[in-house]
Amino acid sequence: MAIEVHNVSKQFGTFTALDDVSIGVADGALTALLGPSGSGKSTLLRIIAGLEEPDAGDVTIGGDLVTGTPARSRGVGFVFQHYAPFKHMTVQSNVAFGLTVRKRPKAEIEARVKELLELVRLDGLAERYPSQLSGGQLQRMALARALAVQPKVLLLDEPFGALDAQVRGELREWLRRLHDEIHVTTIFVTHDQEEAMEVAEQIVVMNGGRIEQAGTPRELYESPRNEFVMSFIGPVNRLGNAYVRPHDIQILPEAGGNTIEALVQRIVHLGFEVRVELTLPDGREVWAQVTRASAQELELAEGQILAVRLPPPRVFAS
């Protein structure tokens, strides 16, 4: 089901969480709401879910106007950052909850729960309690629970924020694959741009209650509309009000056409990537990103003076 948000605004006391925000999410798309804390992304998600009501504006899901309908009638699946498990119920009962309150027949519930637990690979843990599960397992249970009632839309609020790095990586990939299989319109909120870039088909970048830009990861990276988007997505060097991507800085074996000199301050080896911190003749500091192979070829060393070519810097109209 497609989702449309029209001119939604929301205030909490004197704080403006959302200021005239409009987005469209295509049916079956996997979209990320990306932004720093306070950008309004969680608030927007919760308004779509019906857990908050906007002060102004409308939300439609699948063409139906849902502003004003409570969460429980919207048919949305919601996954919380801290999983919100029903601690006093087993995994089985948790996942079955949505069906239980709809008074579905017992056999149907059991079959569906079994199917879902297999999908999220928690089969065998059905009789465990949330306190006995790991973070990753809890989040998968939360997903299974949300999917049990066949929601029109799946909404995830910083779903991997509370997990440690490795589990996060695994679950990201897993979410992507799940989406490929199930094709439910999915929106997830994150402040981690890498996560958004890796998982989402479409990213909506938010800041201060407004939308900065929406587009595919590639579009946002290569054609950022303003400074915020450029610096939020991908690494960036700032030279005055010009922006330069580290990997666009070319380090050349010898001086040539429009190169400048730069002093190597420090070389940091980060596995495949090598970060070279440079000081330019006018004193400004930038860092360049080169591959391990190039670094070796160029025989980079600290204290060296190199020839460096800067790309045309990007400047944004303020």
């Binding site: 699946g77 919380f80 919100a84 029903f86 601690k87 909850f97 309150v101």
Partner: protein, 303 residues
Amino acid sequence: MSSSGPSAISLSPAPAGGLLPSQREREARGTSDGAARARKLGVRVVALAYLAVLLIAPVGMIFYRTFEHGLAPVWSAVSAPNAQNAFWLSLEIVAIAVPLNTVFGIGMALLLERGRFRGKAALGMLIDLPFAISPVVVGLALVLVYGKTGWFGDWLAQNGIQVIFSVPGMVLATAVVSLPFVARETIPVLRELGSDAEQAAATLGASGWQTFWRVTLPGIRWGVVYGVVLTTARALGEFGAVSIVSGRIEGQTQTLPLYVQDRFENFDITGAYAAAVVLALLALATLLAMNLLTRRTRGQVAS
């Protein structure tokens, strides 16, 4: 965390055990200093002596005195018709007042923790008010409102409803003095629980009632139970307020505590002691329940 002053800290279940594992370890290693050990012992002795004199000895005494002439006199005292009436009346009142307060307490807790309205602090203070008021004053206030010359006096008399000097008044008095406990115990648990699970239930299609029954209530149950235990203890033992409101008519409006006083004033020491022992046993049972539940409540809040 809201600090409404003193009333924010009260009735926290007694910490079970006492020491955290790391502290216990250090304790086990012991103090190497002889003087320090003597000091520690001295402090312990003083504390225990105080408790013995004030608390333990008197209670032990009561049991001794009651049974010192054997079981028979006690039994006859306990099975005296007035004693029996008093006992059942006490239970009857408790059976009405406690559920009332439980429902009220849970409702208030939900209102204060999940509701959005102004004047929450005022409501909180209002709920705590019975703590600050003497039971005698509660009785007086009730008489002023529901008594013959009270505000509702005429209306009640016209409709043949007797509140003061009869059971409804006593129930009312008991309910007022034991009002805060369930609310006070449920609120922190409700707060710890957080509303995430309730929101999740909503998105899964549960109605308000379904959410409360299936998600919220099981989550707070130990806090509620603890509060109910406290309420029951308070309600059973209430004396002052009920005394004023009841008129102390033997066999009719005498609760067990009132009966104790009555026997004492009529120099029936055995009778008084016997009834007192019954109440003391109930109190000890309450203590036991409180202590067992402390572990559960802690565990629940911790998870």
